[in-house]
Amino acid sequence: MNQLVRVRRPAGRGEARSGLAARLREPTQVVFLALLGLIAVGWVLVAFDGGQFLTMESVVGIQQRSAALGIVAIGQTLAILAGSLDLSVAYLISLTSLVAAEIMAGQDGNILPAIAAVLAISALVGLVNGLVITRLQVHAFIATLGVALIIKGIVDHLYDGPAGKVPESFQLLGYSRIGPIPISALLWAGVAVVAWFLLSRTRLGYRIYAVGGNEEVARLSGIRTGRVIVITHVLCSLCAGIAGLLLASRLGAGAPTVGTDGGYDLESIAAVVLGGTALAGGKGGVAGTVGGVLLLAVLDTIFNQLEVNSFVKDVVRGVVIVIAVAVYARRGMRRSQ
C-alpha cells in the first residue's frame, strides 16, 4: 500500500519565457533568422562576385523554383507531424503530371476533368498509404516505399517519355505572375495558408499534433488515431497531386521523371526537418517548412549566382540539414533538462 503522500513539486520550470529572446529561439524563428542571415551573406558574396543579388528576376526565380517543392513539403509536413512520412510523393507527382496532361490533351474544356482526376488519384494513393500503415500495420517507411515502387512500375510501363499536352490557358498557372509574384507562388501560399489553418484552427489539426506527439495519449483521449493518419496521408498525397498539376503546367506536358528528377521525396523531408518539425512528429508546423523551402531556394539562388557546381551544392545542403537538426536537438535537450 502506498501510504505516502506525494508532495507538491515546485512549479520551478514554469518561469515565463515569453520574451522576444525566447520566441526567437523557437525553431520556426530560427529558420527565418537563418534565412535572413543567408540572404545577407548571399548579398555580400554576390556583390563581391560583381553581381546583383535580389534582382526582380531572381526573386521571381526563387518563388518559381520553390513553389512545387513547397507544396509537396507542406503535405509532407502534415504526414511528419502525425508521426508518419511519405516516400511516394515523387512518383505520385510524375503520375499526376501525366494524368493531367493526358486528360487535358490540349483542350481547354478538359482542364476541370483533369484536375478532378488528378485529385481523385492522389486521394486514392493517399488512402492506400494510410490504410497500409494503419490497417496492415506496415511501418510508414516501408509502406510508402512500396507504394512508390508500385507507382513507378505503372508509370514506367505506360510511358517512356513526356506525354499529353497542357492547353495554353492552363499553362498560365505555371508562367503568369502578378507583379513580382508568380501564380505558382500564390498557389503555394494558398496551400500553406490552408494547411496552417487546418493545423491551428481545426479539430483535425489538433488531432494530427496529438497523434504525432503520442499516439497512445491520443487514443486514450478518445481520438481515432488510425483515421487521423489516413486522412493525413490523403492530404499529403493531394499536395503532391497539386504539385503534379503545377509541374504539368510548367512543362506543358506530363513527364514520367519529373518527380524523381526533382528529388521531391527526400528533399521535401529535408525541407520539413530544416524548418524545425521533429521527424518523430507532434512538434513543428507549416511556417517552419515554408522557411525551410525558402532557405533551400535561396541557397540555390546564391549557388546559381556564383555558378557553383552542383556537387558543392550537394555537400553544402547535406551539411546544412544535419547541422540544423543538430541545433534543434540541442535546444530540445537543454530545455528538457
Binding site: 502506498n2 501510504q3 505516502l4 506525494r6 508532495v7 513539486r9 499534433y209 491520443a218 483521449s221 481515432r224
Partner: protein, 480 residues
Amino acid sequence: MLSMRGIGKSFLGVRVLSGVDLDVTAGEVHAVVGENGAGKSTLMKIICGVHAPDEGSIEIDGRPVSFGHPLDAQRSGIAIIYQEFNLLPERTVAENVFLGREPVRRGLVDRAAMEEATARLLDELGEDSFGPRDPVKRLSVAQQQVVEIVKALSIDARLIVMDEPSAALAEHEVELLYRLIGRLRERGVAVVYISHRLREVFDLADRVTVLKDGSRVTTVPIGEVSSDELIRLMVGRDLGTYFPPRSAGAGEVRLSLRAAGNHKLRDIDLELRAGEIVGIAGLQGSGRSELAKAIFGAEPFTAGEMTPSRPRSVREGVAMGIGLVTEDRKAEGLALRQSVRDNALLVARAVGGAKGRNGVRDLLERVRLSPPRQEQEVRYLSGGNQQKVVLAKWMTMAPRVLLFDEPTRGVDVGAKAAIHDLMRELANDGMAIMMISSELPELIGMSDRIVVLRDGRIAGTLPAGPTEEAIMRLAAGEVA
C-alpha cells in the same frame, strides 16, 4: 447506472482480473482499493474502453455496452483520470484538456471558448499558478495532475473514474478536490475513486470495493468497515508474519557516503554494510530513486565523498560491484523482446565478465524463476517472474552492493514473498542491500535500519521495526 459482471482479463497469458463484479449508482462515490497490482487500473481501463475484457459484460443504465475505443466510453458519458499521465508536453493546457473534443464554431476550433472553459475549471480548482495557454512541458508534476483532473471534468460526464488523482497533490489541492467531488455527487454524477490513502476513502466514499489479486473480495458500505478491517481485506493475511527473519548483525562497511550530493540530493551520509538491508523511505519525489541512481553511477554525485570510490558512470558503478534493480522494470530493467537468458546475461555481456554465463540455469533456479525456460521472451512472463530475471541479471556478476528500487511494485503476493526471501538470503550471504519502497509495511518488515529522505536530504534514521507513524513524521517534516 454502471453494472459490470464477471469481468476477466489476461495480459500475455497472465491473468490480471477474474470474475470481477462492480455496481456503481448515480450520485455515489465508490472507492476501489487493493494492493499494488491488484488490478484496479486494469478494471478502470476496461470501463473506459482502453482494454476490451476477455470475459464478462458491462451494462450502463441496464443496456449492455461494449466499448471498442475510449471514444465510445466518452460518448456514453464516462470520463477518466488515468493513473499515468496522459498529456502532450508540446501542447498547451487548454489543448490538452479538450484533446479530441475541441469546441468548434462554424467548423473551426473555438480557441477562446476552449481557453475560457479551461480557465473556469482551473478557477474552480483554485489553481492559479498556471493558465490555459501554458505549454504542459513547463508544468510541474502536481500541476500536470491538476490538468488531468480538469481534463476529466471538462467532459460533462455521468461517471468519472479517478485513478489516484490525489497522489501528486498538495494538501490544499486535495481539499479542493474533495469539494469538487461533493459538487459532482450533488449533480448526480457517479465517481469511482481509487486511492491508497485510506483516509480519503473514508472521507469521500459511500461504498468501497476491495480487489485482491484480480478478484473482488467484497463490496461494503463505508460505514460497515474499519480501517484495520479494510487493510486485512486488501492484504488477506496478517501483516508482518511472512517477512523472513532479520539477520544477526551487520558486517564490514561495503560503501559509505559523506556529504554526498548532486542536483537533487544534498549532504547524504550513509553506510551500507555487508549482511544488512537498509530501507529508504520518503515521499514521492523526495529523492529516493535519485539516491539509488547516484550511488549506482547513472546520475552521479557531483559533490561529497563516496568510498571505495565515486562512480561517474553506470559502468564504473558496475565495476565497483554495485547493481541496481530499477523501479520501472519495463522501461528501465528489461529488454522485453529478448529471451530470459539474454536478459539474465545482459550485464555480464555488457561489462565483459565471464562469470555466471554457464550457470544461468542454476541462477534462474536460485531466483526461483518458475519454470525456468531460458529461451522464452521476457514479455510473456508475469511481473514477478520478470523481476526475478532482473535479479538474476545482477547476480551474474556477484555484486557486493545491490540497490532495490520498489522491488515488489506490481508483483503478486507469491512472487513478492519469494523476492523478500531472496533479498534476505543475499544479505545473509554477505551482500549489502539498500531497498526503496513506498509500501511501509514491507519496508518495516524487511529493513534492519530505515533512512528517511525529505527534499533530497536525510531527515533521520530509524532502527529496525519503527512504526509507520514515525516514518511518516520524518518524511513529511512535521516537527515532533
